[in-house]
């Protein structure tokens, strides 16, 4: 089926368009809506967005490739981001990432075989005072210990 926003998201888009003096202003928020709906930004989505906002497809594609949070290919059901940057690394952030790699049997950047979890390393997530930390989908988990990580990852598998 051809891509289209759900009715609810289409309403959100109408609201978004009122916030900016140009249609282009809605480009990133709209891409977020699309990704929320289908998990990643396919070529079809790029064309749909360019059509919807009267932008050249190359513009939309250029935006998609610039930002790390737009997935250019399908990803796992859950996203786990582990912060590796220095302030977290001073508190074990790098080893936390290794711990997750070992537990999940994947390297950073990969998705588990069952498609449940994509593990990624992140650069500073503004949570350095509560390191080590990771982001699971939309939620931050801070001051992590091996026990809390075990519980979190197990819950994602259910």
């Amino acid at each position: 089926m051809a891509f289209a926003l759900t009715e609810d998201r289409d309403k959100q888009l109408a609201d978004i368009l009122t916030r900016y003096p140009t249609k282009m202003g809605a480009c990133i928020p709209l891409l977020h809506l699309c990704q929320e709906q289908q998990g990643w930004i396919s070529e079809e989505v790029v064309l749909w967005v360019s059509n919807r906002l009267d932008l050249p497809p190359a513009h939309v594609q250029g935006v998609v490739t610039f930002y790390t949070l737009f997935n250019q290919k399908p990803v796992g059901k859950h996203q786990v981001w582990v912060c590796r940057t220095l302030p977290c690394a001073l508190r074990g952030g790098v080893e936390l990432l290794q711990y997750c790699e070992k537990k999940l049997g994947v390297h950073a950047g990969e998705t588990t075989a069952d498609g449940a979890i994509t593990l990624r390393s992140a650069e500073c997530l503004a949570s350095c005072g509560t390191a080590p930390m990771m982001q699971v989908d939309k939620d931050y988990h801070e001051n992590l210990t091996p026990e809390t990580v075990d519980r979190l990852l197990e819950a994602l598998r259910k």
Partner: protein, 463 residues
């Protein structure tokens, strides 16, 4: 001097502290905006704002009121206020706390700011990962709108103000103000050449002021107390570094956190009085004062300011740990105050591995527009990696200096300096460690420690 305040943080520990009810109950919420809009002209607002000596909290420390005064009405174009909540500078964790725990201070600050600079719309640019922050800001905007504090006639005044939250999609560079503006307009977040500056041509080609989120959140307090009174809370009021601000402490301390304090506090006080001392009672090795782009200071460094005219003369021959954290004081130390969140490193931390970690960050985040930055950041990483792995030579160690120096001053935006300066800082302050790696006296396996007191590190040992 350590002086704790709670103008912004009073709502932090409270139940539902982020709601309008709490803001009105605990912090006289929106009374100040009401008073400003109904009793002052916009010129008076800017003049008053200057007296607060609020130095930009985003890193560069530019005086907020002066920046506001650059805004000139345009005959045909609207003006915009843009709030920078991209908070991506490694080691910075303060803006997030305001958005999550006191979002109304931001909205009230936006109302006063918009009025002062002649804007009717404010965009708060929040990095995408901060979902709770966005949610709390939107909720605050909704509450304020419902009360009539935002909209067509805030507080009955015929001066429409709207506030919107805008989101990026993961790119550190979008914290740079012109990159942020491109991102707001729906483009790739690549920094623009300046001039024109945002005050001439900013968001959507219109006059724009970009303020950091903490900067704008300080505005209601400053106007409530009277801007000069606010400024005087700081011991650096005389050198135009005023008020109270958020100070973060992270890394190897027992109690990392964020504190609201009068400007004038020292790193020693942050580390030992508020941070609970260094992890495991170890000696202190070094501190990165305000985000990873600010050059590192060694704990054993002393202030050298024999000249009486030097603003740092008062602290001549004292430890750098005892100099008040201020924009100009830290510039005088050859580093920067930056975002005012300090990263603490205990004795035993490997400076080479630390620099390598940071160079990974900069390599990853360079937007790639300028060759010196794109290629230079890759070289810095590659050579540091070779040295850390025991494959580096003395020539390469010297090459690191050359590469860093060739980035400085040759790029579109300050990311270039932000990469080169910390690299040069590590090289200068820890030359011996780098040499020890080249000579084979130290190795990554034996000496490359970053994590301390971490259960994960213990678990992963030998893996």
């Amino acid at each position: 001097m350590l002086k704790v305040t709670n103008y912004l943080t009073k709502t932090y520990g409270q139940k539902d502290g982020w709601t309008l009810a709490a803001y009105e109950r605990d912090l006289e919420g929106y009374k100040t905006a009401r008073q400003v809009l109904t009793s002052m002209t916009k010129e008076q607002v800017v003049d008053e704002a200057k007296k607060a000596n609020i130095r930009g909290r985003g890193g560069a420390g530019f005086p907020m009121g002066v920046k506001w005064s650059f805004m000139r009405p345009h005959p045909t174009k609207p003006a915009y206020l843009v709030i920078n909540a991209d908070e991506g500078e490694p080691g910075t964790h303060k803006d997030r706390t305001i958005m999550e725990l006191n979002p109304h201070s931001v909205v009230e600050g936006c109302i006063i700011g918009c009025y002062g600079i002649g804007a009717h719309v404010a965009y708060i640019y929040v990095r995408d990962e901060l979902h709770l922050s966005k949610e709390r800001l939107w909720a605050a905007i909704k509450e304020a709108r419902a009360k009539g504090y935002l909209g067509r006639t805030p507080f009955g005044k015929d001066y429409p103000v709207e506030v919107h939250v805008h989101t990026g999609a993961g790119a550190y560079i979008c914290g740079e103000e012109t990159s942020l503006l491109n991102s707001l307009e729906g483009r790739r977040g690549e920094p623009r050449l300046k001039p024109p500056f945002p005050a001439q041509a900013g968001a959507f080609g219109c006059p724009t002021t970009v303020n950091n989120l903490e900067t704008i959140a300080a505005v209601p307090t400053a106007f409530r107390l009277g801007c000069e009174e606010f400024s005087k809370l700081s011991t650096l009021h005389d050198i135009k570094d005023g008020g109270v601000r958020l100070f973060g402490v992270n890394g190897h301390v027992n109690k990392p956190g964020v504190h609201e304090l009068c400007v004038g506090v020292t790193m020693r006080e942050l580390i030992y009085d508020l941070g609970g001392g260094v992890l495991g009672d170890r000696p202190l090795l070094a501190v990165i004062p305000g985000g990873s782009s600010t050059p590192i200071l060694r704990a054993d460094e002393k202030v050298s300011a024999p000249d009486e005219k030097n603003p740092l003369h008062k602290w001549h021959d004292m430890s750098v740990l005892d100099v008040p954290l201020g924009v100009d004081t830290f510039r005088g130390l050859g580093t920067m105050l930056g975002t005012c969140c300090i990263t603490v490193m205990a004795e035993g931390t490997c400076p080479v591995a630390s620099m390598h970690n940071l160079m990974q960050f900069y390599r990853h985040e360079s937007c790639g527009q300028c060759t010196p930055c794109r290629e230079g950041s890759a070289w810095l990483l590659r050579i540091t990696e070779k040295i850390l792995d025991g494959r580096g030579t003395m020539e390469e160690l010297d090459q690191l200096h050359d590469v860093a120096n060739s980035i400085m001053g040759n790029t579109i935006c300050a990311f270039g300096e932000g990469t080169a300066m910390p690299a040069l800082g590590f090289l200068k302050k820890f030359r011996k460690d780098f040499e020890a790696y080249v000579k084979g006296e130290k190795t990554k396996a034996k000496n490359g420690t970053l994590a301390m007191g971490s259960e994960f590190a213990t678990r992963m040992e030998g893996h």
